[in-house]
Amino acid sequence: MMRIRSLFDIVGPVMIGPSSSHTAGAARLGALARAVLGGTPCTAQIALHGSFATTGLGHGTDRALVAGLLGFAPDDERLPRALDLAKEAGLDVTFTQEDLGEVHPNTARIDMTDADGREFVVQGSSLGGGDVLVTLINDFPVEVSGELPVLVVVHHDQPGVVAAVTARLAADAINIASMQVARERRGARALMLIETDGPVPGDIADSLAAIEGVTEVRRVPKV
């Protein structure tokens, strides 16, 4: 169900048609996946589930997802040409139709690799009216709506990392709106998702990456 926060959720969003859920929402999901990866992927395998699979092509869901991966906004008039533009940008995209299980009908899973061959998986759903929710990053269940900037911190599951990261943010007076912490298993790879009211400056993100136990920091902007 779409969330109504503002008059511009009713008269708006400004978008490329035809569907706020199947086109605009798909573009936002693609944009979130791009941000998690940290740039334009080299390859993207996109699995379409449910209504995305059955009526997605007629609504340009495929092109909208790719437009997001290329960094286009949902109202960018290049969106209908995204598949051709992906080729020019060196992004190799393949689509499959899959049953992803008990998930929202408008769901896609995007398996991406970056220039260094690192793999990232982002799965998310388009809830209606252009609202989206990323529900899976790699193996971690998450909830990211893209309405606030998010810091994605990959780290080792060891004592003190969460405290060090939040202390660093507190020192710079950055307010945390919400926080999620998950791990693969005890002592293995873990993930912190920190929603902040405003964007986190690059130098602060760099200083977080230097904290003992932190392996990667990604800044996912509001989309």
Binding site: R5, L7, I10, S19, S20
Partner: protein, 285 residues
């Protein structure tokens, strides 16, 4: 969204003089933006609407399936205008925006992509015919959004949840109410206009042929605009609807929930399930 009922919106308008002023004040308060910033953003939305009307009327917007496109230009060129120019103008413009939407052009969802033609068509037509300045048209869009917000809070704006009445019906209610404010009607008349439009489209099913936002979605924008124009005439003449708008909206929600899934955007009922609808659906797969 602040207003959970039209009654509350109406009450807030008493001190400030209009529904748009009340909605604007609340939006500014909740978003932290100034009223001027909110109006600027709404002005930008109006500009996108105007461009989508122009593009659609040029006849260049064609959907990939080939099912829709070019009809807005045909109406603008060849409609006889038997009911007066206002109706044919609004109908052409509603088709124009809906064709741009179907052809993956840039539009303003109002309240959805599929129903994006009704509000710009009705509002720009009434603005021209009343000679209202642009700033008042922008404020009328605020009123339209506030009415849509009440519908979202009490019922739904989604065809999948409530059928086409939730999309075209809501768009027509928003457009009729906004047009009445633009034409100088009272806040109460705005409510009656929205009621007339929504009651006229109660029960309308969502049955997209082939699952595409094309047939009958595009032409339903035209008929939605016509219903809105009728509602504007009723309300400004002083006709009142005995059921309050909030109850009409609640009824739309109830009716939507009682529609079978086949008539809620699944493309398994209505025109989508007609023999020709099925045949077209197969071809566009």
């Amino acid at each position: 969204m602040a207003f959970g009922s039209f009654r509350e919106l109406l009450a807030s308008s008493v001190d400030v003089g209009s529904l748009s002023a009340a909605a604007l004040a609340r939006e500014a308060e909740e978003s932290g933006d100034s009223p001027e910033q909110v109006l600027e953003r709404m002005d930008a939305a109006l500009s996108v609407m105007e461009r989508s009307i122009e593009l659609g009327l040029s006849g260049e917007a064609r959907s990939r399936s080939g099912l829709v496109g070019g009809d807005a230009a045909l109406v603008a060129r060849s409609a006889p205008g038997l009911s007066g120019d206002g109706l044919s103008t609004a109908v052409a413009r509603a088709l124009a925006v809906a064709e741009v939407n179907a052809s993956m052009g840039r539009i303003v969802a109002a309240p959805t992509g599929g129903a994006s033609g009704v509000l710009p068509a009705v509002l720009t037509t009434i603005a021209e015919r009343t000679g209202a300045p642009r700033e008042r048209t922008v404020r009328a869009l605020v009123t339209a959004a506030a009415i849509g917000g009440v519908i979202a809070a009490r019922a739904t704006l989604s065809g999948a949840a409530g059928g086409c009445q939730a999309e075209i019906g809501s768009a027509a209610a928003m457009a009729a109410g906004a047009a009445v404010e633009l034409a100088g009607g009272t806040p109460e008349q705005v409510g009656h206009a929205a009621s007339f439009a929504l009651q006229g489209l109660l029960g309308l099913v969502c049955d997209p042929v082939g699952g595409l936002v094309e047939v009958p979605c595009v032409t339903r924008n035209a008929t939605g605009a016509a219903v809105a124009l009728a509602a504007v005439e009723l309300a400004l003449a002083g006709v009142t609807f005995p059921i309050p708008l909030d109850e009409v909206i609640d009824t739309m929600g109830h009716v939507g929930r009682s529609l079978p899934p086949s008539l809620r955007e699944t493309a398994r009922g209505g025109l989508a399930a007609s023999p020709t609808g099925r045949a077209i659906g197969k071809k566009t797969d």
